[in-house]
């Protein structure tokens, strides 16, 4: 192996009193893709910013060396470092929405990067267009004159990449480059990075929390936990046999179709605070197999295989046997076939929610945003119906309209035969008890000025189910125990709890009124994967115990595969395909469903990859394309597709598809 391109040694960074990066060691070869994997707050982004020497004002690099081609970047003067940034070492960020200067044209921003490192003024314009073309932006001459807000998120990230490429870097640091993007757009951007890498021999340091993205793009990886690297290996070796208990639990906490009916491994507790010195393993408090020495001694590095290193006492030679033997037992839960044929509890027919667009001084209505445009669903008792789609497809609006939190424009919502659409607040109240909702952001969904007990008891009070406060608090404490939290939490404020705990409190609040249906609006999207596992387990347990029905709104197909019984796929305000989960996910018939499924990265590098990549972005719901909404992006579109929206065709008794290419069955 030739000399590494990047060598990081003993890198330690503090922010205030917290040592967020502690003794990190990394090596990257030329042209390699190396992933730095970890959950939020593990220090992976701070590592990246330390390499660029772009830490926030409170950040300080305490020790270490960062050698790029043998030159220690930490010893360069700031002026010298500027000649490295953007030239040999470039970086792209998580939020393309805010990472471009809003008042400068795209072309000018790229040209600035070109000029800073190339100089030759005459060729700048040509170079800008060349870069825009290289990152796959159509009509670059026009786009170069546009401003960032005129571009979609995916386009902006492409522009960021173009800018990073301007100085012909040897190493690109990509900090969660696709986290803010939809899955089909993520596939485009990851594909682009791979192509560029093959063309130019660029090395990529990919910072991510997404095991699937790592499995699909990286050759080697390192796992970070609480500021420290705990394991490093080739991607293949890691996914075949993760060595550190944390890594294993991380993989086991991923929801997949195989784990249906089983509980996900959840990591208890939380990451330790980083403002103290560690005397033992950082993971010890959460590790199911911790030994006495894990508390007392810092674990040294052990070799778990060729090029596979792990920082864990369990790999000490005399303990190896026990280390490799035990696969944590996965409890087999029984799949209760509830409600398969029961009458639907909730039946939605042709639901429409349109928002008028007002313009001008007189506030005339000049158009409609057709957020939800004719959605029909059926939810049976004790079942989970997943409503899947990318951002802006209308799934959240549909969920809120179902509960009359947004007034539907048209259509019917029948709960046990009662029509809910158009009910006044007062007449809706008798149904509130049965229909509840959990939101995505557990921070915003609780009133910060109310005690947890009052938050949970609010429904009991509003609906007159428990008149006195002591009674409500007692009930709240019981509910907290039910969702796996200490009952004493009733006397504390929401901000004292972590994201996962808050989501539990929100679930308890919904359960307080003893509902039959819960609309779960992306309840795990703001959470780390190990915490997501806890919440998914909880939801599943509650369904089994209480016979709840869930309308589970999500963009995450792996969660759908794990949790749902039935699924409806939405695109631009309409359901394009729905059916039982195994039908839709294993035998998808609509081209959009297929593209969506193939775009999801799988956390298994051996998995066979179908390559079905969608071009372009989802159009605006204020001006949906005529005919089938998907046809402008559909790889199989025919001229007829633009004529009329296809009627639903039944592929089986339970599986319906809106596509003219699908032949209806019998």
């Amino acid at each position: 192996m030739s000399a590494p391109l990047l060598e990081v040694e003993g890198l330690s960074t503090t922010i205030g009193a917290a040592r967020v990066v502690d003794g990190v060691r990394l090596e990257l070869a030329r042209g390699e893709t190396f992933a730095l994997l970890g959950e939020s707050g593990c220090g992976k982004s701070m590592t990246a910013l330390s390499l660029m020497r772009l830490l926030p004002p409170a950040g300080r690099i305490e020790a270490g060396a960062v050698r790029l081609d043998g030159v220690d970047l930490l010893r360069l003067s700031e002026a010298e470092m500027r000649r490295v940034r953007g030239a040999r070492l470039a970086m792209i960020f998580q939020e393309p929405q805010t990472s471009l200067n809003p008042v400068m044209r795209i072309g000018a921003q790229i040209a600035e990067a070109v000029r800073l490192h190339a100089g030759a003024a005459a060729a700048v314009d040509a170079r800008v267009l060349e870069l825009l073309r290289a990152v796959g932006i159509p009509d670059p001459e026009r786009r170069a004159r546009e401003y960032p807000h005129q571009l979609s998120g995916g386009m902006k990230q492409r522009v960021m990449i173009a800018m990073a490429l301007a100085g012909d870097p040897e190493l690109l640091i990509a900090d969660e480059p696709t986290t803010a993007l939809d899955v089909t757009i993520q596939a485009q951007v990851l594909g682009l990075l791979k192509t560029l890498q093959q063309q130019s021999g660029l090395a990529v340091l990919l910072i991510t929390h997404d095991l699937g993205v790592v499995a699909e793009t990286a050759e080697r990886l390192a796992v970070m936990y609480a500021g420290e690297i705990v394991e490093t290996a080739t991607t293949a070796a890691f996914f075949a046999a993760p060595a550190h208990p944390y890594s294993r639990m991380l993989l086991e906490s991923l929801p997949t179709a195989d784990k249906r009916g089983a509980r996900l491994a959840a990591i208890p507790g939380r990451v330790p605070p980083l403002d103290r010195a560690f005397t033992g393993c950082r993971f010890v408090e959460r590790c199911p197999r911790a030994l006495a020495r894990c508390v007392e001694q810092l674990p040294p590095w052990h070799e778990a295989g060729a090029g596979h290193w792990v920082r864990c006492h369990l790999w000490d030679a005399d303990l190896v046997d026990t280390a490799t033997v035990a696969e944590p037992a996965v409890a087999e839960g029984e799949q209760v076939p509830v409600g398969e044929d029961a009458a639907p509890l909730l039946e939605v027919a042709d639901l429409k929610v349109h928002f008028p667009i007002h313009r001008g001084v007189l506030r005339r209505v000049v158009g409609q945003v057709r957020a939800v445009d004719g959605v029909s669903l059926r939810l049976r008792p004790g079942r989970t119906l997943a409503l899947v789609g990318e951002s802006g497809c209308g799934k959240t609006t549909a969920g809120k309209a179902l509960l009359q939190l947004i007034a539907p424009t048209a259509g019917s919502i029948r709960y046990q035969g009662h029509e809910l659409a158009g009910l006044s607040h007062r007449r809706m109240r008798r149904f509130r008890k049965d229909l509840q909702i959990i939101f995505q952001d557990p921070h915003a969904s609780m009133n910060p000025r109310m005690l947890v007990g009052d938050v949970i008891g609010e429904g009991l009070q509003a609906l007159g189910l428990a008149r006195t406060r002591p009674e409500r608090l007692r009930r709240a404490a019981e509910l907290l125990e039910l969702v796996g939290m200490p009952g004493a939490a009733v006397e504390r404020y929401p901000h004292e709890f972590s994201g996962g705990q808050r989501q539990r409190i929100c679930i308890a609040r919904a359960l307080a009124v003893d509902p039959r249906v819960i609309v779960c609006d992306e309840p795990t999207s703001a959470l780390d994967v190990s915490v997501q596992a806890q919440i998914l387990n909880l939801l599943k347990d509650l369904q089994a115990r209480l016979g709840l029905s869930y309308l589970f709104i999500t963009h995450d197909l792996s969660v759908v595969a794990y949790l749902a019984h039935e699924v409806a796929v939405m695109y631009l305000g309409r359901v394009v395909e729905q059916g039982r989960v195994e039908e839709v996910l294993e035998r998808p018939r609509h081209p959009y469903t297929r593209a969506l499924l193939s775009a999801v990265p799988v956390a298994d590098p051996r998995a066979e990859r179908r390559t079905l990549r969608l071009e372009g972005d989802m159009p605006s719901p204020s001006a949906p394309p005529p005919g089938c909404h998907f046809h402008p992006r559909c790889p199989e579109a025919r001229p007829e597709c633009a004529l009329a929206y296809p009627e639903g065709r039944a592929v089986s008794a339970t599986h319906r598809v809106h596509c003219i290419l699908v032949e209806a069955e019998g």
């Binding site: 506030r363 809120k400 509960l403 939190l405 607040h425 109240r429 509130r432 008890k433 229909l435 509840q436 909702i437 939101f439 995505q440 952001d441 915003a444 969904s445 609780m446 009133n447 910060p448 000025r449 109310m450 609010e458 429904g459 509003a462 609906l463 929100c506 609040r509 009124v513």
Partner: protein, 266 residues
Amino acid sequence: MRLAVVVLLIWIGAALCAPWLVEAPNRVELKTLLAGPMPGAPLGTDALGRPVHERLLIGARVSLLVGFGVVAFAAALGTLLGLAAGLLGGWVDRLVVRMIDLFLAFPGILLAIALAGLLGPGVDNLVIALGMVGWVGYARLARAQALTLAEREHVLAARALGCGTWRILWRHLLPLALAPLLVEATFGIAAAIVAEAGLSFLGLGIQPPDASWGSMLRDGVSYLLVAPHLVIAPGVALFAVTLAVNLLGDWLRDRLDVRARSQGVM
């Protein structure tokens, strides 16, 4: 900050206790015109021989009355209109927004001057004139708060739990909307005190022989060279109180972590 609190306590204390502390703020004493510090008048006397320190105490009373009166009037009116507009929407919202825009199209202090001039002198008219100008800021802020808070998920959750409109308003919107309004109101007190003094300075507010810091300044300007203490004393009092109230506002804003603030028009 501690100094600011001391200043504020002195101001409020002086204003409340003024009736017991002063003997004859309006009694003309021709033997001691424009005198410097002397027994019975530690801050000297004015052009009619009246003791400056007693008139300062009376002025404190006026400024306290007007400061709190204006803010109470303006904040109540503005918050009510703003919340109503934000929560009810429709024509109510359009009407309130039009009114806000109309008042914002006017330089605030000019409107207050014109109103005070036309309404005639007196503390009550002063409060009305300044309140008519001041409500706009609170209305804008309250409306913006209502609009953003109503979108928040805990409000949606409360509705999903069957809470009625009043309950949501009372438990979920008002407590959260209050912090920025409180900060705005604090700065509003300073603005109202300065505005009162300004109007009195122009002869449109408190009328002789009653004392206000503004009218004392107005009278003092004529004797700037011979008796600078007539300008310095009320000016220092006004400046110190304004500064202290502003410091309190800054401190509150940092404590309550309020970022939104309407651009004051006064």
